[in-house]
Amino acid sequence: MLSRLDLKSQQSTIGSGQRSPDFDLEISDLSKRFGTNTILRGISMSVESGSIVSLIGANGAGKSTLLRSCIRLIEPDSGSITVQGKQLVGAAHRDLVFVRSKIGFIFQKHNLSSRLSALSNVIHGAQSRRGGPRTWIQAFAPKELREEAMDMLAAVGLSHKALSRADQLSGGQSQRVAIARALMQRPRIILADEPVASLDPSSGFEVMELLIRLAREHKATVMFTTHNLKHAEEYADRVIALKGGLIAFDQHASQFSAASVKDLYV
């Protein structure tokens, strides 16, 4: 484990194009504007492999923009994004798809295909590595894919809901199916944009707990955004705060406290 000071010194080497194998995600001088509205003003950060990073900041601070830029769901204006050593900005479509396949992205809204079963939705996660009709619905899926998907549903405690239609699940259950779908990708990195913001406090904690536990089991690096500072404190190794398009602070979770955020939300 690198200490925070080590992280800082490592960051300074990124500009020279050097990549350290200890980092799963390296963002350098990333900028994004919507019209005249500059959202990100040259953000740089390196996320250590296996670490759990929480991204906080006021509404409109650019957390979602940053997270989405990491897989180019939003095209950044400038800067570089390196995922496990692969440069994403300007990468060819094939390479982009390859990198995306290694990253599980959890949205605030579960984004399941609502008319399909939970199991079919989890099987869709396999489309990151093999596509085709056999991944479209569970009835077409080959045995090994169904079994793997059932394992993922078991991991999120929803084996009994495998054949329920997604629109018949509660918010917490849906989000757990979305997590199972992400795990089906066998992801190296999980990006989660306010994964529990639409859940009640107790399901919120449960789902957060589950996400972090499974991510650790699968040795995936995690970056999640949240407005719940308790979640940041509890689950992250490191807390990064955005304000005015810049990093307001970047702290080890143990240093993080109420005092850290006093200027963040004003």
Partner: protein, 211 residues
């Protein structure tokens, strides 16, 4: 006209069945063909704007020409009989479903598509796994409408020799045999009513469960 003449009822019913078979087969094949055509006509999934423009043009063209004219064209091309009628219904269905399937696909919520894009799924997989399931209730409703439309349409197609009960009706009218014409019109009415009733019932069920 009264009483209706039911002496030829067995023949009439056989022709009615032929009419319905034309409608069913034509609609079914038309719907299957409309699916890929609709994909090419959507904003988000068409491989190229030019392809989209041409496809939309083709679909409009199918819709612009009345089914009776299509039937005439196909009678000339493949000869008299139900095959010509079925082809006319296929083309007519494409004109209808091609357009409304494309709109249904464009209206599907974007979240599930974005989730699959984010994990690196291919365009085909996204369409099959997120877009088509989302558009399914609307597409089934459209498909049932086009079956009703085809049933009504296929009655007339017989008049130009494209198979089905229309030819019976025309002969009866030509011979001033109004008692027989009354029977024919009555059985047509029963068929159209039955298809519409079944269609509405299915649509109501789908719209309820489609939420």
């Amino acid at each position: 006209m009264f009483p209706p003449d039911i002496s030829r009822l067995p023949v009439i019913l056989l022709r009615l069945l032929e009419t319905f078979q034309m409608a069913l087969a034509g609609t079914f094949i038309g719907i299957i063909l409309s699916l890929p055509i609709a994909v090419l006509a959507t904003r988000d999934f068409s491989p190229h704007p030019v392809v989209r423009f041409l496809t939309k043009g083709l679909v409009s063209f199918c819709r612009t020409i009345p089914d009776l004219i299509w039937a005439l064209i196909f009678v000339v091309a493949v000869g008299l009989g139900p095959f010509a009628g079925t082809l006319a219904i296929i083309v007519d269905t494409i004109g209808f479903c091609g357009r409304f399937f494309a709109e249904a696909m464009e209206d599907v919520e974007k979240g599930p598509q974005e989730a699959l894009t984010a994990l690196g799924a291919s365009r085909t997989d996204i369409i099959a796994s997120a877009v088509v399931p989302g558009a399914m209730p609307a597409m089934i409703a459209t498909g049932l409408f086009s079956l009703e439309k085809a049933t009504r349409g296929s009655v007339v197609l017989g008049i130009v020799g494209a198979g089905g009960i229309g030819v019976e009706l025309q002969v009866a009218l030509d011979l001033f045999n109004y008692a027989q014409a009354a029977t024919i019109i009555f059985v047509i009415f029963v068929l159209v009513l039955a298809v519409e009733q079944v269609g509405s019932a299915l649509r109501a069920r789908i719209l309820v469960s489609g939420k």
